[in-house]
Subunit: 203 residues, 2 copies
């Protein structure tokens, strides 16, 4: 890296890093020092929290401990109204310990097979956490409301994207391009909520 | 039947009928006219509600329509705190459309494998509904708090009984005799809440 790291994002996914950088750039932040966990050989973190906020904080704290730099982390999931917000933090392993999006989708649809359209409200939720070396911790949540379909639609995205149509849209998350989804996504909302705090911190 | 039916319980399970009769008898009710859906050839009802109360009401209303008599129905399920009350009304078909207690238990344990003992609070919930031919509808809820075990214990009971230890006990629901379980169960609590209303109605 040509520039000294100043803030680390808890991901090894370059697209997620690019997304955070773009959102920060829109806030006027110089993003040259914004790097990912891959750039600093960040630790693997067990996501043992029972809320999105807890898991995001666990990941950010671990990265602060590892690097001595401020860190941002996010944790997301799919929350169905009639399931009281489940799958929630258990979204990835809903159908069992193998990580299998198709199995997760099939199980969720089977569980809710008898649930009529008037009760299929759902939302994607993302908690974004900012943790600093001096112990400051901030969490902001991004939520996208919508409804659960009766069968998967679309080939894009991942996870429960083929089952979810955001309010005000007529296509599933899985039918949107990455750019379209990023523009409205729960994660982008959480990052945008955190952006002014990050801008202030790096100023 | 030697006695004219006066109240119908929405079940074909003789044990459940005996349980309601015993609770009513303790309230001083003459239970000779308290019969089950089996005695009146009651209808099959689709449990399409998304709450226990809705499902209990659906079953009781159908029986009132079928018999012209007051009816009592109950709907129960297992509610895990960190799942926001799920499986809840979806308890029976949690692992899919086959009705398979062992599969439901195994799936729930897999979903919550990473959840520590401090977050394993859970409860059994029963909604009892009383509906009369003149349109009166009453719902009372019975709840038994406890915790979710990490593996099944005990051979008795059914459903999620092997996973649940009630507060103040050191054995699972599945390790209790039927009499012991009935004495403390969520269903008996709901029935006991309804008993004075039923006593008044039949007086």
């Amino acid at each position: 890296m040509s520039t000294q790291p100043r803030l680390v994002l808890a991901t090894r996914n370059q697209h997620k890093l690019d997304e955070l950088r773009a959102i920060l750039a829109a806030e006027g932040v110089d993003t040259a020092g914004v790097v990912s966990a891959a750039d600093v050989d960040g630790p693997d973190v067990q996501e043992t929290g029972v809320t999105f906020a807890e898991n995001a904080l666990l990941k950010a704290r671990a990265l602060v401990a590892h690097t001595g730099l401020p860190a941002v982390a996010d944790d997301s999931g799919f929350a169905v109204d009639v399931l009281g917000g489940s799958p929630g933090v258990f979204s990835v392993y809903w159908a069992g310990r193998q990580r299998d999006d198709a199995a997760n989708n099939a199980l969720l649809l089977a569980q809710l097979e008898d649930v009529g359209p008037e009760h299929r409200g759902a939302q994607f939720v993302c908690a974004g956490a900012l943790v600093t070396p001096d112990g400051r911790e901030e969490v902001r949540e991004g939520v996208v409301r919508g409804r659960l379909l009766a069968e998967p639609v679309g080939d894009g995205g991942f996870g429960y994207d083929p089952l979810f149509v955001p309010d005000g849209h007529d296509r599933s998350y899985a039918q949107l391009t990455a750019a379209q989804k990023n523009a409205i996504s729960h994660r982008s909302r959480a990052f945008r909520e955190l952006a002014p705090l990050i801008a202030e911190l790096l100023a």
